[in-house]
């Protein structure tokens, strides 16, 4: 069985975000990026599902972070890493177009990606990709089991409710959480992969896929809009006393 995992490089929200000079994007200078955390769960789920003789292929777009993401995926147990070159757009429509070309060049039984990312303004990659490739898709998945040519998946609803679905393969899953916390790859192992493994490349042909909308403004929401800011422990204790909980 062959699994594909789609990876995306996104701003680390631990950092302070600022609006760029054009006022329509995040200022990426000095900004730290990292692997989309949901993609990390998608990778973990694929690695947990893969048995002997199975193949886990990690794919991402070329650019900052591509080598690190792919080598880390291989260090964790992925079989191969493919870097997509020539993709024109980083919005969901563009990503779905690029990934569908690369995935269409081979056969995959299950395609996993993170349920969402911090900047997917024009939709979630999993279901957009699935629609483009004519495959079934379930999003917000937190459990996956394989039974022959089908997958049993648990989809999370609000209020802690979970629905179980049976899905014919090949299929796309938007992973909310893997059954286990994502494994850690030691830095030394990642470095070893970087030195010894040749990453593959796939050239995407530009089709001009676009989100069909444009960003006209970006702003940080006013901070502390609702909260009365307290400046010391005394004030906090006073509030707690007022609420009668101390």
């Amino acid at each position: 069985m062959r699994f594909a995992v789609l990876l995306k490089w996104v701003p680390d929200l631990v950092e302070d975000l600022e609006v760029d000079d054009e006022g329509t994007g995040v200022d990426t200078e000095d900004l730290k990026f990292k692997l989309n955390e949901f993609d990390d769960h998608a990778l973990e789920q694929a690695l947990l599902l893969a048995g002997e003789g199975d193949e886990v292929v990690a794919l991402t777009l070329e650019g900052d972070g591509a080598e690190k993401m792919l080598c880390t995926a291989i260090a964790k147990g992925a079989s191969r890493g493919i870097r997509l070159t020539g993709g024109s757009s980083l919005d969901t429509a563009g990503l779905a177009d690029s990934f569908s070309q690369a995935l269409g060049a081979d056969t995959y039984d299950l395609i996993l990606t993170g349920v969402q990312s911090v900047d997917d303004r024009d939709g979630q990659l999993g279901p957009v990709l699935a629609a483009r490739m004519g495959l079934p898709c379930v999003s917000v998945v937190s459990e996956v089991g394989l039974e022959g040519s089908t997958a049993m998946v648990a989809k999370e609803y609000s209020g802690g409710m979970v629905a179980e679905f049976e899905v014919d393969l090949p299929a796309v899953l938007g992973i909310q959480a893997a059954s286990e916390a994502p494994r850690y790859a030691p830095v030394s192992r990642v470095r070893q992969v970087q030195q010894t493994v040749d990453l593959e490349e796939f050239a995407v042909s530009g089709t001009g896929a676009s989100s069909g909308s444009s960003i006209t403004g970006m702003a940080q929401p006013e901070s502390g809009g609702g909260a009365k800011m307290l400046t010391g422990l005394d004030e906090l204790v006073e509030v707690l006393n007022g609420l009668g909980v101390t």
Binding site: D119, A131, V140, M161, L243
Partner: protein, 311 residues
């Protein structure tokens, strides 16, 4: 026909609040007739959807099915030709809105909190980057917009009435996704939806061993422990303690958020708490927008001092 089509969401035999939030918003936009597509037997309750002038009855199973519901929504759009389609930014909505826009070849805007019509287009504000940025997009109609829960008042759309009902008929799908069963949440040792005081921890807690300080504080305040999603995914806290979109929706008299940044997914589950106190070292954290009281300080310093004071 122009206008707005609202894709209704239901769970456990009732329309979800977001359905009424979207209906209220749709009416306020004044861009033509408001219609609503309701799935399965929920269309029999069209009287609850009085904010819409037409209810489209989609002949689906009552249990959500990604393939079937997306196909029915598409058929409803083709029948009504709306300028704007509103879908909930929820687990079900993800599997309706995305295939809907992709197969119709029309734009989609996600995580939307507000819409203004402007000369045949829609100016939409989305909450991105974990709620740290408000992004404005201009999109021409027809477009699909996914609305975040809680951005509008559900009561504005909760209007009894007798809208006309039009039958969409059965929906034909390949049947590649089959619903099996709905599993109720495991309440665990404590049902946090019933707790009076909650001490909730987020990623800012740092490591698993650091949870103790929050537990100590919770003990002193006679509170129960809760948490945001990442701590459950990391295996540090049980799922039964998770607050937010895919966790529990809580309304305690006091919610103390420690090291929680306030992503929209978390806020959805706790914004109805009577009083919210947020402690987070990042003064720009969106949690301070919903909190009643905030402290932009290191949570460990505050907790340790407070524990000493309470003891």
């Amino acid at each position: 026909m122009a206008g707005v089509l609202v894709v209704c969401e239901h769970l456990s035999g009732g329309f979800a609040d977001i359905t009424f939030e979207m209906l209220g918003l749709a009416s306020s936009l004044q861009v033509g007739e408001v219609s609503a597509v309701a799935f399965g037997s929920m269309a029999d309750r069209s009287g609850e959807l009085g904010a819409a002038s037409t209810v489209i009855s989609a002949g689906c199973s009552d249990d959500f099915n990604p393939e079937e519901y997306a196909a029915a929504a598409k058929s409803a759009v083709e029948t009504t030709s709306p300028d704007l389609v509103l879908v909930a930014s929820t687990s079900m909505g993800y599997d309706i809105a995305n295939p809907l826009a992709a197969t119709l070849g029309i734009p989609l805007i996600a995580y939307c909190t507000g819409i203004e019509p402007e000369e045949g287009a829609f100016v939409c504000t989305s909450s991105l980057y974990g709620g740290k940025m408000g992004v404005t997009s201009t999109v021409p109609g027809p477009a699909v917009v996914m609305m975040l829960s809680g951005a509008h008042n559900a009561d504005d759309g909760r209007i009894e009435g007798s809208p006309g009902v039009s039958d969409l008929g059965a929906v034909d799908t390949p049947g590649r996704v089959r619903f099996k069963q709905l599993i109720e949440p495991d309440q665990g040792d404590v049902d946090i939806t019933q707790s009076g005081v909650l001490v909730a921890i987020g990623r800012g807690i740092g490591g698993k061993d650091d949870i103790e300080v929050a537990e100590e504080l919770a003990d002193l305040l006679d509170a129960d422990m809760a948490c945001s999603r990442p701590l459950v995914d990391a295996g540090w806290m049980p799922k039964s303690r998770q607050v937010g979109k895919s966790g529990m929706r809580v309304k305690p008299s006091l919610y103390i958020a420690l090291g929680i940044s306030g992503a929209p997914e978390h806020i959805e589950g706790m914004k109805d708490s009577a009083t919210i106190i947020a402690i987070n070292s990042d003064e720009n954290a969106p949690i301070f927008d919903v909190a009643d009281y905030g402290m932009a300080e290191d949570l460990f310093d505050v907790c340790e001092e407070l524990i000493e004071e309470l003891e």
